[in-house]
Symmetry: D2
Subunit: 200 residues, 4 copies
C-alpha cells in the first residue's frame, strides 16, 4: 500500500523497480501525481516489468490516460444498482465468475467511454437508470498488460463483493510480467547483421 | 425481397451473383434453408462479392453461424424497453446516430452472446429487466464484411424507428464489396516465381 | 495419436469426449474427413471443451475452415529458408522464444492468407524468395481457443526444431479448456426471470 | 506544408484548428517538438477533429508515441530491397493496391515493433537481409484514427512510387474526421437525467 502523501508520492524508484503488479485507485487528486512518476510507470509497463490494474476513478488518472492512450472520458452519475455481466467467460480474468452478479449500490459510469477498442472486453455493466458501460477491459501496450475495472466507489461496498475480489485477484495473475524469451533492447537499435547469414 | 417459399428459396444463382449486399431476416425456419445455398452465400461473402447484414433472429440462421464461425447462442425473453447505446460514434455505421436512442418494445436478447470477438463493437443495448447485449457488431471474414444488428422482432415496431433505418442504411454502405486492387485467385495457388526476381 | 484410417476416422465419440486439446495435421486427404465428425469437433471447440491446434497444411482442413470461418486460402511454393519472427513476445505462446529463429528448409506458405483478423498475431515469417506469412495466429471462437502454426511440411525437419516444439507445447497450455464459472446452457434459452428482482 | 523552424513550430493554433488530416514526417529532431504542441495534437486526434498519418521515422515522434501509447521502438539497418505485401486487400487503405509491390531501396525497419495490437494490419514488409515488419497499421484512438506507414527514408525514392502515393491518398480519406451524430462533451460530464424517463 502506497499513498500520494508518502515520500516520493509513495513510489520511490527502489519500490517501483520491485513492483510486478501495480493496482491504481484514486478519485480527485490525479493532477497532483508528478509527470515524472507517471512517465516512469509508463515505461515500466511498456517494458513488461510492471503489470497495471486500474480501478474505478483511475480512468481519469494520468497513468491510465498516458499508458493506454486515451482521454479516459466517460459520463457519471448518482449511485445506483449495477449488474456486471460476464461477456468473455473463457478469459483468465473471468475464471470462476458467474454469468452475472449484482452490486446494490455503485457510482454510475456510462457510455460512451472514449477508450481505444480493448484487446478483450471481459465485463459489461447494466445500470438502473438506463445506462450501460464496458466495465472490465484489457489493453496490451508494448510488452505490458493493463486491466481496467469499474467498481470501487469510495462510499460503496463493492470491494467487499467476493466476485469483485476474485476478478481483481485473477487480473493480478493476468497482468503480471510475461516470460519473455530474450533481452528486449532499449530504444531502437541499429541492426548490423544479416539473418540470412545464419543459414548454413 | 426474396422469401423462403420462392423458387430456389428465393436466391437462384443468377440473382445471388448480382447481389452486392444481402440483408437476412428470419425467425423460425432457419433449418429449412438448404446447406447448398448457405455454402454458396458463405463463399460469396468470403470472396468479397456479397456483403452480409443479419438482423435480429438471424443470429441463429445457418448463414450467420457458418459465415462467422459461431453457435449464435444467446438468451432471450419477453418484449420490453430497450436503450441502444452508441459505443463507437466514429464508425461509419454510427454516422448520424446520437449517444443513445430508445425502443419502447423489443424482444429481449441478452448476454452471454457466444460470438467471436467482433472486429468492431458499434452498439450495445440496455434492457428494462437487468440485461445487456452487444447489439451491433462487425465481423471481417475473408474479403467480406458482416454486420449483425439486434432490433427487429416481428411483433414490434423497431424497423419504423428512424435511427434503426439509418443504421441499416449505413451498414449497406459499409458491407458493400471493396475496391480490391487485384484478381483474387480461387483455392491455394502454387507460386512458381520469386519476388526477388522483380528487382532490377 | 489418431489417424484417418482408424475406426471412426480415429476419433470415436468416447475419445473425443475425453480430448482437452486436439492437434490437427493433414496434407491431402482433408475431403475424406466426414462432415459429421467435423461438426462434432466444431461444437466441442465452441463449447470450450476441446482446444484446437492446427499445424501446417491443416489450414485447408474442414475443421479449421468450419471452426474459424474462412476458406483457409493462401499461396504456396517450393521448400526454402524461413525465418520465424516473434511479433508478440509477451504472449503465453511465445514464452521462452527468442526474437527470431531460422528453419533451413520449409514449404513456402505466403500472403495473402485469407483468414479473419486474428485475436493475436504471435509469429510472422520471412521466406527466401521474397514472401512473408502470418505464421502463428490465435482465434477465439465461442468459449474455445484455436492456434494455427505454419511449420511442419512432411519432407522437412521443422518438428525437430526445439523452438517449434516449445511453441506447440506452449500452445497446448494456451488452448486448453478454461475455468468457466457457470454451466453454459445449450442452444438459446428463454429467460423467465428479471435480474432486477435480485436486488434486495 | 509546415516545418519545425516555422513560427509556432509550423502549427499555430489557427492552422491546427483547420487541419482535418495531419501527415507527420520527421527523422532526427523529434525531441525539439514542444510537449505543448504534442498535447494539442493528441487532444484533437482523440476528439476526432484531426486524423493522423505518421510516415517512416515518425514512429519515434512524440506525437506517435503519445497519441497511440507506445515507445515506438523497433530495430533498423542498412538500406535494402523491400517487398510490401497487402495483408488486408478489402481495407479502404488498400483500395487499388496489388498483392505486393517492390521498393528497390528503403531503410530497414524491423520486428519486433513494440506497438499495441493494431486495429487493422493492412501491410507487411519483407526485407532482403531476412527481416519482416508490420509496415502499414491502423489505430483507433478516441474518436480519431491513426495510420502508420513505413516507407519514406530521406535518401530513397519511395515517395515517388505510385502505390506508396495511392496508399497515402487512401489513408487521408480513411483518417479524416467522421460524421459523429452528436456533440461530444469535454471531460467527464455529470449525468443528471434517467434514460428510463424517456419511455412514454
Amino acid at each position: 500500500m502506497a499513498a500520494l502523501d508518502d515520500p516520493c508520492q509513495g513510489l520511490p524508484d527502489e519500490l517501483l523497480e520491485k513492483t510486478d503488479v501495480l493496482i491504481w485507485w484514486g478519485h480527485m487528486a490525479h493532477g497532483e501525481v508528478s509527470d515524472e512518476l507517471v512517465e516512469k510507470i509508463r515505461q515500466r509497463v511498456y517494458a513488461g516489468k510492471t503489470g497495471l490494474i486500474v480501478l474505478h476513478s483511475g480512468h481519469h488518472s494520468k497513468v491510465f490516460k498516458q499508458v493506454v492512450g486515451t482521454t479516459g472520458n466517460l459520463s457519471w452519475g448518482r449511485d445506483q444498482k449495477e449488474v456486471v455481466w460476464n461477456l468473455m467467460p473463457s478469459h483468465p480474468i473471468a475464471a470462476g465468475i458467474p454469468e452475472h452478479f449484482t452490486l446494490d449500490l455503485e457510482e454510475l459510469y456510462c457510455e460512451p467511454f472514449y477508450i481505444p477498442q480493448p484487446d478483450a472486453l471481459v465485463f459489461g455493466s447494466w445500470y438502473e437508470d438506463g445506462f450501460i458501460f464496458r466495465s472490465g477491459v484489457c489493453f496490451l501496450r508494448g510488452l505490458g498488460k493493463v486491466f481496467y475495472f469499474q467498481p470501487g466507489h469510495e462510499f460503496d461496498r463493492s470491494f467487499y463483493n467476493p466476485y469483485v475480489q476474485r476478478i481483481i485477484k485473477n487480473a493480478v495473475y493476468w497482468v503480471k510480467p510475461a516470460d519473455v524469451g530474450y533481452t528486449v533492447p532499449e530504444g531502437a537499435p541499429n541492426v548490423t547483421f544479416k539473418v540470412t547469414d545464419e543459414f548454413n
